[in-house]
Symmetry: C2
Subunit: 148 residues, 2 copies
């Protein structure tokens, strides 16, 4: 499936570039893979509309909460919804962050989910939602309930 290969190739590059941009704390590079009118909902449910707003929102937090943070991609999953529309899940891990109150926020794990579409020759993120994953004990306890 050549479309899926093209999407996979593009998304792998987006993930690699975005993680590198995060780890340089470079807001412009971080925002580069978003479409001009992309919507980004962060882990607190705050919404940024447009690439410029996404960049602007990350400038101050790269100097505060995320100044010493390091991001790693754990797993990227992609599913084509249309030949030019992909649903992407990116599991990530972060160390060295602080929460908005300034408290250490170590060893975060989370899940970004994106709608990535083809814009001419490039693939860009149109919609992004991020979430922190709660303690794995909760998932284990729910799985146990489901086996009862």
């Amino acid at each position: 499936m050549p479309q899926e290969e093209s999407a996979r190739h593009a998304v792998d590059r987006i993930v690699r570039d975005m993680v590198a941009a995060w780890n340089r704390h470079d807001a412009a590079a971080f925002a580069a893979a978003f479409a001009a009118d992309a919507e980004f909902t962060n882990v607190f449910g705050m919404v940024q509309r447009g690439r410029a707003a996404i960049e602007a929102a990350h400038v101050p937090i790269f100097k505060t909460m995320f100044k010493d943070s390091e991001l790693a991609a754990i797993e990227t999953k992609l599913r084509l919804i249309r030949p030019d529309v992909a649903a992407v899940d990116l599991r990530w891990r972060m160390t060295g962050a602080r929460d908005p109150m300034g408290n250490p926020w170590p060893e975060r794990e989370g899940l970004l989910n994106w709608i990535v579409t083809r814009h001419g020759e490039t693939w860009l993120i149109d919609v992004s939602h991020n979430m922190d994953l709660p303690a794995p004990e909760l998932a284990k306890a729910q799985a146990a309930l489901s086996r009862q």
Copy 2:
């Protein structure tokens, strides 16, 4: 834009029916709006693949964690990504739930995000991610950082 109207109408109905199904604790009705091969990622990051698996996963939790829970839709936002592909955000509130350990889990607020597409004459959910929203103080503190 007739496509957008059609999508909006269908999504409003999905939300209404799903909330009603949740509040009857009816797993089959809850799963009805998902495509046969839909993927559902819950608030703990657990993934259910396929409508049948989504239904099966909800049967036991409607008898335990969510036995006395009541769900309400707060706000539905829709954006057409393609004429037959919609990105949907649904803010929700829940009372009366228990967490997987059995502790009271009162006054949850969260955000479902869906990819809803046209399947012939109907619109169905292909991809769903759910998250609990953290305490609003965190969003306020991050907003304050961004104004510094």
